[in-house]
Amino acid sequence: MIKLKQVSKVYPTGVKAIVGLNLEVEAGEFVFLVGPSGAGKSTLMKLLYRAEQPTTGQVFVGGVDVSHIPQGQLAGLRQRIGVVFQDYKLLPNRSVAENVAFTLKILGMSKGDIRQRVKAALDLVGLRDHMDALPQHLSGGQQQRICLARAIVNTPPMLICDEPTGNLDPETSWEIMRLLTKINMHGTTVIVATHNKLVVDNMRRRVITIDNGRMILDQARGVYSVGVN
């Protein structure tokens, strides 16, 4: 599903975010990406949905080198990847339902299908009662869940979550994790960047630890080991 070959990313400021990274993730896997702040987790995720391009190396998603696809194919790639952004990236002045429906509308789905899918996705994240609310009137945790509903509404083969529990209380965090597990069980590849030790240690999934842009640990059923020597 995902293959990174000798990937490096140096920002114009000279910051080396990723250094010679090799990584492979099979379809249907559930992977935690851990590491201290500034380790390169977010950059790695951005490389997957081509919000950033690598300075050197290749990034394959579903067999396609996404770092070299033409601009015209970018939209198609992003339609196949669900992304939960750390800062939510919700469209302001549009209701919760409109935000979730957006990805379906650009695909030209029928109104009936859209309504059904949006309701199902909002049910899943527990926001059905807030369909018509504006995101800015909801709490951080609720906005995070809208973002998750939007990411999964199109049932993409891959789901990327950047700190999906960053703003949530422990109980809601667990709910989200249960949800991600459920989505993963339906065959979606899930990659989660997180600082949540409790979640990582309890789930016992594959854990990739990154530090200073390098992969320092790749455990099959791992634990959170950042800062542990």
Binding site: G72, R78, L90, N93, I106, M109, S110
Partner: protein, 298 residues
């Protein structure tokens, strides 16, 4: 069939997005419409003035007549017939020498009696010729000059040449100013819409990240620009119509000797052009700024 339906739904969504976008632009939309109105009014106003100048030039041109002086002893009637057979002649009016003499007396406004001089009236018989198209005047004059019995010919050569020169110059100036103003309008439009694009850059970025293609982002902006162009042009149209029907009509009442003809048709023509230009410039200006933005952030 399903894919056609899909495209129709996407188009529907794009139209919805454009309408929502117009509704949400608020005061910004009035700035864009106002800018468009100002630029198009300058353009339309200029066109109307050039149009009026052309009408004026034509009117003066049409008053140019050819005066043919007939040789003493030649038949005026024969020359009259011969001239009438030429193409492009509207009217031929004979002026007998006696009439010319009286006219001269009248023009000089003198109480002096010339009656005793009448036996030796030095003025020749003449023919006054009106042509259909003033442009043909020099050609016709040349042909008449070659006819037998013509003593001399006079048709205000310099005046006609000057009028034609002015008409040509206004035409050239009109094209040049139209091109310059069009470019300026589009630049202003493009920059103003760039502000609305900048205002919504976060929204555009999010749309891109969740899989909206550049085309999908561009189209609603393009429709929005076209709408602003049309709205600005509609205000310009109303203004020009008001100017023509109320202000100019009043002016003409005050100065009836200025031949402005009935300008309704040309005003409608100018308004038609302005509407078309408004829509095109709005759409194009909008497209330029979004394209520029997408290029920068793609």
């Amino acid at each position: 069939m399903e894919s056609i339906k899909r495209y129709i739904r996407i188009l529907e969504f794009i139209a919805e997005e454009a309408i929502t976008s117009v509704r949400r632009s608020g005061w910004m939309s009035w700035i864009v419409i106002g800018t468009m109105f100002a630029s198009l009014t300058i353009l339309g106003g200029f066109w109307m003035v050039t149009d009026d100048l052309n009408v004026l030039a034509r009117a003066i041109g049409s008053r140019v007549e050819i005066l043919v002086f007939v040789k003493d002893g030649s038949s005026v009637a024969a020359l009259d017939d011969e001239i009438r057979q030429l193409q492009g002649i509207e009217a031929v009016t004979p002026i007998p020498k006696e009439q010319a003499w009286k006219n001269l007396q009248k023009d000089l406004k003198t109480s002096m009696s010339f009656d005793n001089l009448l036996e030796n009236n030095p003025l020749p018989n003449a023919l006054k010729i009106k042509v259909v198209d003033p442009k043909d005047t020099p050609d016709i004059a040349e042909k008449i000059a070659k006819m037998s019995g013509v003593e001399e010919i006079n048709y205000g050569k310099e005046l006609l040449a000057k009028i034609q020169q002015i008409a040509g110059f206004t035409k050239f100036l009109g094209i040049a100013i139209t091109v310059l103003l069009s470019i300026a309008t589009m630049a202003v439009m493009s920059n103003t819409i760039r502000l609305t694009v900048q205002n919504r850059r976060r929204e555009i970025e999010i749309m891109q990240l969740v899989g909206a293609s550049d085309g999908f982002i561009r189209w609603p902006f393009l429709l929005e620009g076209a709408f602003f162009g049309l709205a600005g042009a509609a205000f310009t149209g109303l203004f020009l119509l008001f100017w023509r029907t109320v202000v100019l009509t009043r002016l003409q009442d005050l100065f009836p000797f200025i031949p402005l003809e009935d300008g309704t048709f040309s005003t409608m023509k100018v308004i038609g052009y302005i509407l078309a230009i408004g829509v095109c410039m709005g759409a194009a200006g909008s497209l330029f700024s979004v394209k520029h933005y997408l290029k920068q952030n793609g």
